[in-house]
């Protein structure tokens, strides 16, 4: 019986349970883009340390829904990864 009570309390405390359609959630659901904003690293085909974060183990470009990079920066990133591939740096 004790277990059941605890379970009910937990459910009430979560912020998702009471949300209506037009209410904004307090929790940030999406992360901001790591490559835009102030002090963001420069995307460049010579900057291999940065590019290696955004490719999979087999060398494919990670989709932006995984890495949460903005569309504009994802285009830049894909371009510079392809340039680095041409020079056999990645």
């Amino acid at each position: 019986m004790k277990r059941k009570k605890n379970f009910k309390k937990k459910r009430k405390n979560t912020k998702h349970s009471k949300l209506s359609l037009f209410q904004k959630s307090d929790i940030k659901l999406s992360r901001s883009c790591p490559l835009s904003g102030k002090n963001a690293p420069v995307i460049d085909y010579k900057n291999i340390k940065l590019l290696k974060k955004y490719i999979s183990e087999s060398g494919r470009i990670l989709p932006s829904r995984v890495s949460s990079v903005s569309f504009k920066k994802q285009r830049e990133l894909a371009n510079s990864i392809k340039r680095a591939r041409l020079l056999a740096l990645i």
Binding site: V42, D44, Y45, K46, N47, I48, K49, R83, L86, L87, A88, L89, I90
Partner: protein
């Protein structure tokens, strides 16, 4: 005038002390065709991530220069014939960043 970055990959057979004389040939082509070399970087001998035409290693050289379309036309015409070159890449940039150097510089 446009800003360009140019990277060359030379074959491993080329000896390290001959890289400079080899590169001077292309620097002259840039300077003679209304271009101007701003900065050169020697990245040295590096391993490829994958084989290119049965080569595993190559000498990398990086040139930053100003020029017009004709400069690149003449430069790439000469490079296409050259058998000691494996690959080259030309990239147009808005501004040269002369601060960052991503590879260790090796003097010839």
């Amino acid at each position: 005038m446009n800003n360009y970055e140019h990277t060359l990959i030379m074959k491993q057979d080329l000896q390290e002390n001959k890289v400079k004389t080899f590169i001077n040939k292309y620097i002259d082509i840039i300077n003679n065709n209304s271009g101007k070399v701003i900065k050169t970087e020697n990245w040295g001998l590096k391993n490829f991530s994958h084989k290119i035409k049965n080569n595993k290693k190559g000498f990398y050289f990086h040139i930053k220069f100003e020029g017009i379309g004709k400069t690149i036309e003449e430069l790439e015409k000469a490079e296409n014939i050259d058998q000691m070159l494996i690959r080259y890449l030309t990239v147009r940039v808005k501004e040269h960043d002369l601060k960052n150097e991503y590879f260790e510089k090796k003097e010839i």
